[in-house]
């Protein structure tokens, strides 16, 4: 079962630039590998990662097979108000996972 790890500071001062770290467990099968009997292993990757803050998109990534297994993505955002980050991973074969984290801005 897929699971996400999110690291968002619980508190920040207004105007701070904070780092958000995310990791989603996923095999990220490239679709370029063969089994011992020569069959192609079908592609199974996460194709899109989105982060929204209070409903509006603040970061989006298009992923390709060149992203390592268990995609780890970090990015920055400016803390402007308290609220909720929502993370969404979408991938092949109907893969869809979400996670969320809250932050208090003082």
């Amino acid at each position: 079962m897929a699971s996400a790890l999110i690291n968002v500071p619980a508190k920040a001062r207004r105007g701070d630039i904070i780092e958000i770290k995310t990791l989603m467990s996923h095999i990220m099968e490239t679709g370029y590998r063969h089994t011992a009997s020569g069959e192609l292993v079908p592609r199974d990757i996460i194709t899109s990662f989105t982060c929204r803050f209070n409903g509006s998109e603040i970061f989006r990534a298009d992923l390709f097979p060149a992203i390592a297994a268990n995609p780890f993505i970090t990015f920055f955002t400016a803390a402007t108000e308290s609220g909720k980050f929502e993370f969404e991973w979408i991938g092949d074969h109907g893969f869809s996972e979400t996670a969320s984290a809250s932050i208090t801005v003082e």
Binding site: T30, Y32, H34, F59, L63, A66, F72, A78
Partner: protein, 159 residues
Amino acid sequence: MQQPPNSSRRQFLGLAGGAAVLGAIPVVTVRPAEATPAMLASAIQSVTGGAAVRTGKVKLDIPPLVENGNTVPMTVSVNHPMAPEDHVRSIHVFNEKNPQANIANFHLGPHNGRAQVSTRIRLADSQKIVAIAKLSDGSFWSASVDVVVTLAACTEDVI
């Protein structure tokens, strides 16, 4: 003992030698075509639409010597303000020799505060990695790094 003393050792050495010869024959696997520099160029073209790409502003942090291409830490940052009227709109990372030229596209905006993204990537061979940043004024900036990979990723067989 009646058995000649060296027979089993001779057999063993013979077998071991045979195995060594077999082992020395490379296992031939059919690999998919590599992304060629032409594919890299066309992938870049599809992002820039033919606009000029200047070198600078972008910093691409990858270890120059990679032992395991299956997971290579990569940080790309753009030395540019993230103001609403002037910011980094997106960062695109490409490679030269993986089966596919794209690695990732990151879409940013002024609310990011800092144009810096980290992830872990796969590299199928020693090759050049290119990062291109698109700014809100429509200009493109790039950086490239040559990476040496000792254990390749992506295309190895599943055991």
